[in-house]
Symmetry: C2
Subunit: 449 residues, 2 copies
Amino acid sequence: MKNILLLGAGRSSDVLIDYLLKLCRSEGYQLTVADAVKQTAHAKIIANGGEHTAAQAIALDGNNQEQCRSVVQNADVVISLLPPAAHLTVAQACVEFGKPLLTASYVSPEMRALHKDAEEKGVLLLNELGFDPGIDHMSAMQIIDRLHAEDAVITAFRSYAGGLVAPEYDNNPWHYKFTWNPRNVVLAGKGTAKYMINGQMKYVPYHRLFSHTEDVFVEGLGDYEGYPNRDSVIYRELYGLRQIPTILRGTLRRKGFCAAWDTFVQLGMTDDEIIIDNSANMTYREFTNMFLQYSRTYLVEEKLAMMMNVPRKSELIDKIEWLGLFGHHKIGLERATPAQILQHLLEQKWKLEEGDRDMVILQHRFEYHKAEGNFELVSDLIVYGNDNRHTAMAKTVGLPLGIGAKLLLTNQIQLTGVQIPVKEEIYKPILAELAELGIVFRERIRSVE
Amino acid sequence: MKNILLLGAGRSSDVLIDYLLKLCRSEGYQLTVADAVKQTAHAKIIANGGEHTAAQAIALDGNNQEQCRSVVQNADVVISLLPPAAHLTVAQACVEFGKPLLTASYVSPEMRALHKDAEEKGVLLLNELGFDPGIDHMSAMQIIDRLHAEDAVITAFRSYAGGLVAPEYDNNPWHYKFTWNPRNVVLAGKGTAKYMINGQMKYVPYHRLFSHTEDVFVEGLGDYEGYPNRDSVIYRELYGLRQIPTILRGTLRRKGFCAAWDTFVQLGMTDDEIIIDNSANMTYREFTNMFLQYSRTYLVEEKLAMMMNVPRKSELIDKIEWLGLFGHHKIGLERATPAQILQHLLEQKWKLEEGDRDMVILQHRFEYHKAEGNFELVSDLIVYGNDNRHTAMAKTVGLPLGIGAKLLLTNQIQLTGVQIPVKEEIYKPILAELAELGIVFRERIRSVE
């Protein structure tokens, strides 16, 4: 009997566990769900109808190397939903015992360093197999390979992805709710983003990132905007687009979000290093004022409007006001960083309520020319969540991992080493099954001057 | 015979070595100058007239713990001019063998952790005994103690210090030349600054630091400006000003410098983490353009002016142009960070030429009230360098260390543990001897409404 080991039963594991339990029932596999708290793993199995299946929950300390080794040794395929920093111990055990590993995380330098060992051992460490990164790579590569087969020369590639609240449940001025790890949202974009436009390399430091947006129109949904995401330029190599003059990957938000979020960056409220003294007893108004110049004349609202160069009565200031950052509520969080205080507030205001549904959007936009002329191809994916647990994010992260596990257990992937899903061998069967499960791209091509 | 050990014979050690050699001659002490390169230490001794004195040069690897221990063991007082990160090994050896240590660096958390051990051992680790930090602490404390003795209530304290080029040699549009470690200047202000004004705590993130300046007028010299320096609020405690509503320590620059330097911060050019591909063959114009939005319409100069919200013909753009950042010269530095590239350029443009003289300025401004009314006290220190080696910076950093060593060798300091020079026992004799050596503050007090 083959064993699937899933590490981490966090809040986006439901769809994956549901998929794996069905797979176990039909194929006679065994599933082990490991979490720091055994009860969490057990509850997820029960919640997804796994009571009478061959599924077991175990407690696992991701930092305990010996324990990791012993559970990995008994598995046939390992899926890690642990935080990225915890993947390495697992990956080392996978290489040692020759067990394939799947993650939805970006390849870290430490992970990349295992490539040679993994190849020699004939084992696959397949990362970036979630939504973004994951489905974005696979769907982009399917189009790129097809265009190249048609002798097209691709001159520009832009790709934007975002996890958002579905329009019917979008009832706040930010048009945003947390559908994913709030901490990652608060700290998003730290570092310097890098992309290429018309052959020119562009670097965008964090403090200009959220004012450095492009408009993105999504048919049927309307106006969005995107900001550049990390290093887009490495994908010239990874996507086989070595000569492409324009390449940009970005994060998608509802129009107006980035200008307002920029307020936090400009103020310094996303700083996660300094500790604010006496933060528990401070009011949110005092917190906001701490980042604004002293004045005897102007109110906090007025100083912020001046700093951001907008009128006092403006959408931007309204958004900040709606969050309560001018209010007299106490923060109630002791010795916190500004980022922790901001996250604490946003978690109350941007909560996905019971009954709310989320949505993910992915849009690729290619420009290319062929013998017949110049073309633009737009490929959109829009997925809605079913409910609070079976979110669009949980589907689009979990299903590629589940399908990947199935392919590995049936020996349909021969690739070894540290990989991301850019090869046809991987993306073709996964995208095909995703389509069967309702995760379908729509594509339109128009001729341009 | 008593032994003085000086670690590090870098470019600002001349005045200190000169002082110590004279001390050795008059008191019969022995000086050992240790440097990574023995020849450097030897050359400094010769250059300062130490050929026929009891001074020796040795080679020392600051990271070699055993070697540090053996040289410290033979010393009666140790002065470290090593980079701050190298002080710890030396400090540990000083505690072990009960030898006092003097440095001109900020107390690091690791240094602070040695306090208890040093106290138990009865040994003094005296840090921040240079110019800034150093003379600033001592001169501020002398005034604060005096005002407190006069029953004054101090309501505001601002202190600005800067190392600059002397006015007669100030012949570039930035009104700045490197008189100190260029790397520290390029990376200055990273992190979040913290100060207090009228009882309100203020945080200034790095990307707003250089637009967050105060005007500072220096009598006889003219208009300067200052930006907040690190954490000013801890000095409420350290200076015995626990209730003071306004406290700010800052760095002084010639007026207009900060707005222009802000350009580099806004662009992202002070980033010291990302590596620029192919930087050697890139021109400075391409480098600048990399940080600016793509445009078919506007020139690099125009895009920069728009980003900084100044006219194309403006002092700010002239300053950038003067540096050559719009020019077609190749950078010639391989795989460098933006900060390294910027430093490389500035070192050519802001070089202190043969014959140039530098200057340091320190200004304290106190507001206080007494029974008789409200007062403002301004205390200025202006020191000029003699030449390229005996700079104002080398004097004001080196002499306090030299005098401190003399006081320790004659048992005039009883303090132990990790300290900064805020106690009368230290500042009184040091400021008195500095005054004899021409380092004199001028003070004026005026009555205010």
